[in-house]
């Protein structure tokens, strides 16, 4: 790796300000009886569960939820990639605003075949400085993460956001070229760097 940092003092977003998925509203409501503050004072208010058998058979309430499908959305993609670490700093791509929620989109891959389950995920990357030579590595990292974490019906498209990098076209070409991506992933050193970036994704 380059010994000198390319950008030693980037702007950092506050962790609390990053977009997150809010818990469904119902968990607030339960507050006092359920998982709220008083849970410790009242270990098992719902004692009737104990009577029915050893295990609280909550299968009924679960099967209600079961029917509710939760499709993969932009926030989920964001959660997958925002925890990747920057190769230069021990800071997440989310906090550095290298990836951001509005720059992620999911579209049908074949818009003219409505029934097709194929989807394309587009992630636009904003390097912290316009001449960052690590943009390719970051792009590759995001790509690897998504390919490991999304089902086969998803196509992954990672690009540099327009106007944020001096050699964006060149980098985009590298990231889009399947052969070159595959070749890069055979490179032990490069994979080492990427594995290090992905370590924080848990």
């Amino acid at each position: 790796m380059a010994s000198e940092m390319q950008n030693s003092n980037p702007t950092i977003l506050n962790a609390a300000d990053l977009p997150t998925r809010l818990q469904p509203a119902r968990s607030h409501k339960l507050g006092i009886f359920g998982n709220g503050l008083f849970a410790s004072a009242l270990p098992s208010v719902d004692a009737s569960g104990f009577l029915l058998g050893g295990f609280t058979s909550s299968s009924e309430s679960e099967s209600d939820d079961d029917l509710l499908e939760e499709p993969i959305d932009e926030q989920e993609i964001y959660d997958l990639v925002s925890t990747i670490s920057d190769p230069e700093h021990p800071i997440s791509l989310g906090a550095l605003a290298v990836v951001s929620l509005p720059d992620i989109s999911i579209t049908p891959t074949l818009p003219y075949v409505p029934a097709s389950p194929l989807r394309t995920v587009t992630v636009l990357i904003t390097p912290t400085i316009t001449h960052c030579s690590l943009a390719t590595v970051i792009g590759l990292g995001v790509r690897v993460r998504l390919e490991q974490s999304l089902p086969p019906r998803f196509r992954v498209d990672v690009r540099i956001k327009e106007g944020t990098h001096s050699t964006a076209d060149e980098v985009n070409k590298q990231l889009a070229d399947k052969e070159r991506v595959a070749a890069a992933l055979e490179n032990g050193t490069l994979m080492g760097v990427i594995a290090k970036m992905l370590e924080t994704c848990l």
Binding site: L37, F55, E62
Partner: protein, 1056 residues
């Protein structure tokens, strides 16, 4: 043969006998049978021998004799002669030991000590070529001289100093170095070393950094840290080293090894704290220039922390004796470049390096009053300017955070309101900015749009610091803050994760410790005013108010007021005639229960008052309600009664003994007269409402001590009472009442039944269980009663425990499916933790009970399942039996600590795998419990054990099968619920994540991961799980797949 000759012969192989010979001679010398001169003369022919070993032995002989003499025997002259003799022969073995013996004697003079030292320095020029143990002896002699005759060595001045340094130069053995370092430290501290500072410094600094690693099983137990500590003491021993030590240590910071940097920083800190302040001042700015980089571009957290510590320590040293702050102080000169750097970095406070700048500011300003004054003077005004000109909230927020860091330092220096330490005389320099702070933080907290949560949280934290800072705000100013907090909690809608509200409650709680009166005067009335007098169930806003009240009522006064107010609210509700929601009175009771459970009630002086107001009065009310004579149905509700019961239980436990006896008399009458309420036991016609009152009675009973007298219906024995309770618990009734009856029975049997009467309980058990094997068909109520009765007996390890368990197990083989399934599910009851029959309530729970149940049941279950497997499908009517046994097993496993399970793993693992095969939807609880057990096994023991049992492939296959999502068809619910799929994925994750820790790295190297054969299968299957409809499942699948891709290494390529 002479004594000497015998000695020479045996000394090598029989130390004991050699010692005896020496002792004998010593005795002869003592009794004047022989003289010391003769002993020395007898050595004659040997001590001039050419063989050094023989010479050494001869000298040892003399040493051994001297050692055996009584300490005051030798005359001054004899000592002198002997010393000279030994000094002449100092290179021969034994002489050093002889000198060591001599120098311990009272008559050993200073002059002799000098002679010995001289001999050591002159004759041991070649010391480093001798063996470790010889060197050690010499150092030890020197060390003893240092301890006993230091002035003699000190008088030798430079001579002894150079002598010591020459002697030890080149020493490498850790044991010897420990001694050498401590000898040298004395020289450094006590000798005049001004001409030789560099020589001395180099003699120890050559060893820096220490890279010693003790060999495995090192018998001497010297660690690298021991050596580091001693070396560090030497380096930091005298200010005269500073010109050499500080530049050298700062140079070491360029090292690439974090360990070297860590040692250098630690040594630097030691130097800063030990050198005199003038010296520290001379190097302060040099050190800052070097450490700045370590903090601003921190690579390792620890290094940055140590650097900050060093910077702070310099400020502390330079503050020593400072009474008035001025620009000319060395402290001011040191801090100038630092505050300048911080100001520069904080111009753009949301950039990465602003964070370290904040840390520097925090550490420097917290060093002393003087450093705090200087920091405030240099930083606050510029920060406020940047704040006014800031173009965005993110920037402002970062600035607020910076100010909060300063406030933290202020608290460290000036204390909080509750701090007991004496106050500083100096005025807090922040007071100058008080109004500005109040405006800025007030505006930031209340004057921005509600969605800016994190900004407002920062403002709130700052305001809180200022409110608790001693002698800063006036009470009315803190009061304003309290009002803001009330407003946030009472009037504002929830935003996002409610971080602001959570912080607001924490802040109120914190303030209540410092200014309880403000909370009582402002917050309390405001909150209580929002509590409704009545609730019809449509609006539950009171919940959050009650939650807030409960959390801020930590202080005694506030707690008491809260309980009083809530009780009067509750009493109003109990008088109401219109039917309202029971949730509200219950919430009030829960709140009281919560605040009481947070306190030590047995030390509360008001506990008897609470007893009257809550236990006596509310129990009586409940009794009246049960008889149908109350205005409303609140106290007929099972959940209300349950909460009230818990509250009573808490209070009863805290009562003094005489009151507890009073409780005992009233557990069934509930403090009512016979006209108002007829007690349940032995009542022929108790209504459902009356039976429900047993909930309260059970909780009261649970709170009483084991040896409580006055318990009703217990003499001559409990037989009748037990019989009555069992009769009720085997009859169908409402679930809550039923549970209370079961617990009541268990409490009586476990806690109160005397050991001599245990047969009563076992007889009862026998009457409930039909003896014949055929047609075992029991009602679920009877089965529960059997299990709770067994629970009570098993926990106290009553005799016949094994028989009881075997009888319970036989229920599973019942041809009646309902009986079998109900019994199977009930096995979790046996050892499950219960709120009522608990250690807190003084239940009789023996330590070995869990182990006993486990070791009794598991072999039985295991053999039964094998039996069923063999019998196969010959008996189609008994298909439910195998699942029943597996259910029972999982019920027990879920209540057993994992360390009990591990030894039985080879038996249990196949059973667990079989329960994963139950791919039906009603087997989900069983499989969930199984997966939880598996997860613990995998986490604690790693893959190794499972591999040894040879089950990796079968385990992985079953886990993968459980992760599959099959869309629910029309009638059957899906076999694998989301929770089950997540649990299975978690097991897969743990499999790949947990390293096989037992195998040392070396042995593991060449060996392939046992998971490798299934890796491709797992990665492929999980690829499909990534498309699961549930988000939680997908998340678990991502983690599991990542772990397998990362953690399971492929076979190395063979293309070498």
């Amino acid at each position: 043969m002479s004594a000497l000759q015998t000695f020479l012969l045996v000394v090598d192989h029989d130390k004991q006998e050699a010692k005896q010979i020496a002792e004998r001679i010593a005795q002869d010398v003592e009794t004047k049978k022989t003289t010391l001169i003769e002993v020395v003369q007898s050595l004659g022919e040997y001590i001039n021998d050419e063989d050094p070993i023989l010479r050494g032995k001869a000298v040892s002989y003399l040493t051994a004799v001297i050692k055996s003499l009584p300490p005051r025997f030798l005359s001054r002259q004899q000592i002198q002669v002997l010393t000279t003799f030994f000094c002449d022969r100092i290179e021969d073995g034994g002489a050093v030991a002889g000198l060591d013996t001599l120098q311990k004697l009272d008559r050993f003079s200073r002059a002799l000590a000098g002679e010995v030292a001289q001999a050591i320095f002159e004759r041991f020029q070649d010391l480093q070529s001798r063996s470790q143990s010889q060197r050690f002896q010499v150092y030890q002699l020197l060390n003893e001289l240092m301890i006993n005759h230091r002035s003699a060595l000190h008088n030798m001045g430079d001579h002894s100093m150079v002598g010591i340094v020459d002697l030890m130069t080149g020493e490498k053995d850790p044991r010897n170095l420990m001694l050498v370092f401590s000898i040298l430290k004395v020289v450094m501290v006590e000798w005049d070393i001004s001409d030789h500072a560099e020589l001395l410094f180099d003699s120890v600094y050559n060893y820096f950094p220490i890279t010693f690693r003790p060999p495995p099983n090192d018998p001497y137990g010297i660690t690298a840290q021991d050596l580091k500590d001693r070396l560090q003491e030497c380096i930091s021993s005298t200010s005269l080293f500073a010109p050499h030590s500080i530049p050298s240590l700062l140079d070491k910071l360029d090292s690439t090894s974090p360990n070297v940097k860590k040692d250098a920083l630690n040594a630097l800190i030691a130097c800063i704290n030990s050198y005199d302040p003038d010296t520290v001042s001379r190097y302060s700015i040099t050190i800052w220039d070097a450490l700045k980089f370590e903090v601003l571009n921190a690579q390792e957290e620890l290094l940055s922390e140590l650097s900050l510590q060093a910077l702070q320590d310099i400020a502390k040293r330079l503050s020593e004796g400072v009474t008035r702050v001025s620009d000319q102080l060395p402290l001011a000169q040191y801090m100038r470049p630092i505050t300048r750097e911080c100001n520069d970095q904080l111009q753009e406070p949301q950039q990465k390096q602003a964070k370290p700048a904040q840390q520097i500011l925090g550490f420097i300003s917290a060093a002393s009053v003087a450093s705090f004054m200087l920091s405030v003077q240099a930083v606050v005004a510029p920060l406020l300017t940047v704040y006014q000109e800031a173009d965005g909230i993110a920037k402002q927020r970062a600035l607020l955070d910076t100010l909060v860091v300063l406030f933290d330092s202020a608290i460290k220096i000036f204390g909080e309101w509750t701090t007991r330490t004496p106050e500083t005389n100096t005025a807090n320099p922040l007071l100058e900015f008080k109004d500005q702070f109040s405006d800025i933080f007030g505006q930031a907290l209340m004057g921005v749009i509600k969605e800016e949560v994190s900004f407002r949280v920062s403002a709130l934290r700052g305001f809180l610091r200022l409110s608790t800072l001693r002698h800063f705000f006036q009470d009315n100013e803190v009061g304003l803050f309290v009002q803001y907090l009330d407003e946030i909690l009472l009037k504002e809608e929830s935003v996002g994760r409610d971080d602001l509200k959570k912080e607001a409650i924490t802040a109120l709680t914190e303030i209540s410790k410092h200014k309880p009166k403000l909370i009582m005067d402002i917050t309390f009335p405001a909150f209580v005013a929002t509590l409704p007098d009545f609730d019809d169930g449509t609006n539950s806003n009171y919940l959050s108010t009650l939650e807030s009240l409960a959390q801020i009522s930590v202080e005694k006064d506030i707690f008491e007021t809260l309980v009083r107010r809530l009780l009067s609210k509750l009493n109003v509700l109990l008088q109401k005639e219109q039917p309202g929601s029971v949730a509200y009175p219950r919430a009030i009771l829960v709140t009281i229960l919560y605040v009481m459970s947070q306190r030590k009630m047995d030390q509360d002086p008001n506990v008897e008052l609470y007893y009257d107001k809550i236990v006596v009065s509310l129990c009586r009310n409940a009794a009246v309600s049960a008889s149908g004579k109350a205005n409303n149905n609140i106290l007929k509700d099972a959940t209300v009664l349950d909460t009230l019961g818990r509250l009573c239980n808490l209070i009863v436990r805290a009562l003094p003994r005489n009151k507890q006896d009073e409780v005992a008399e009233s557990i069934y009458t509930l403090y009512s007269s016979a006209d108002d309420f007829s007690p349940v036991p032995f009542s022929q016609s108790a209504s459902d409402d009356q039976q429900r009152a047993m909930i309260i009675s059970t909780y009261l009973l649970a709170g009483l001590p084991t040896d409580c007298a006055n318990l009703p219906h217990t003499s001559p024995n409990m037989s009748a009472l037990l019989f009555d309770v069992v009769k009720r618990s085997t009859t169908k009734c409402a679930p809550a009442t039923h549970l209370a009856l079961l617990r009541h029975l268990a409490l009586l049997v476990n806690k109160f039944l005397p050991k001599s009467d245990l047969s009563l309980a076992t007889e009862l058990f026998a009457t409930l269980l039909p003896s014949s094997l055929e047609g075992k068909k029991l009602s679920p109520e009877s089965i529960k009663t059997l299990f709770w009765l067994s629970k009570a007996l098993v926990l106290r390890l009553a005799p016949k425990t094994a028989d009881l368990l075997t009888s319970l197990l036989s229920l599973l083989s019942s041809p009646d499916e309902v009986t079998s399934t109900t019994a199977a599910r009930s096995f979790a009851i046996l050892l499950g933790d219960d709120d009522v029959l608990s250690a807190t309530n003084g239940a009789n729970i023996r330590l070995l009970s869990k182990q006993r149940v486990f070791t009794t049941l598991v072999p039985l279950i295991s053999s039964k399942i094998r039996e069923v497997n063999v019998a196969g499908s010959e008996f189609p009517t008994t298909e439910h039996i195998k699942p029943a046994y597996l259910t029972a097993l999982s019920g027990i496993l879920s209540t057993i600590p994992p360390y009990l399970v591990m030894p039985e793993l080879p038996t249990i693992l196949p059973l667990l795998l079989q329960s994963l095969d139950l791919q039906t939807s009603d087997s989900q609880p069983v499989r969930t419990a199984t997966l939880e057990t598996l997860a613990v096994i995998i986490r604690d023991t790693g893959v190794g054990v499972i591999e040894e049992c040879g089950h990796i492939q079968s385990l992985v296959t079953r886990l993968l099968k459980t992760t599959e999502h099959k869309p629910a068809s029309d009638k059957a619910a899906s076999a694998n619920g989301p929770r089950l799929r997540v649990d299975a994925l978690k097991c897969l994750f743990l499999l790949a994540q947990t390293p096989a820790s037992d195998a040392p790295a070396v042995a593991k190297a060449g060996k392939l991961s046992p998971l490798l054969p299934v890796k491709a299968q797992v990665v492929r299957s999980l690829g499909f799980v990534l498309d699961d409809p549930k988000r939680d499942v997908r998340k678990a699948a991502v983690d599991a797949r990542g772990a397998w891709l990362r953690g399971v290494d492929d076979a190395p390529d063979d293309d070498e």
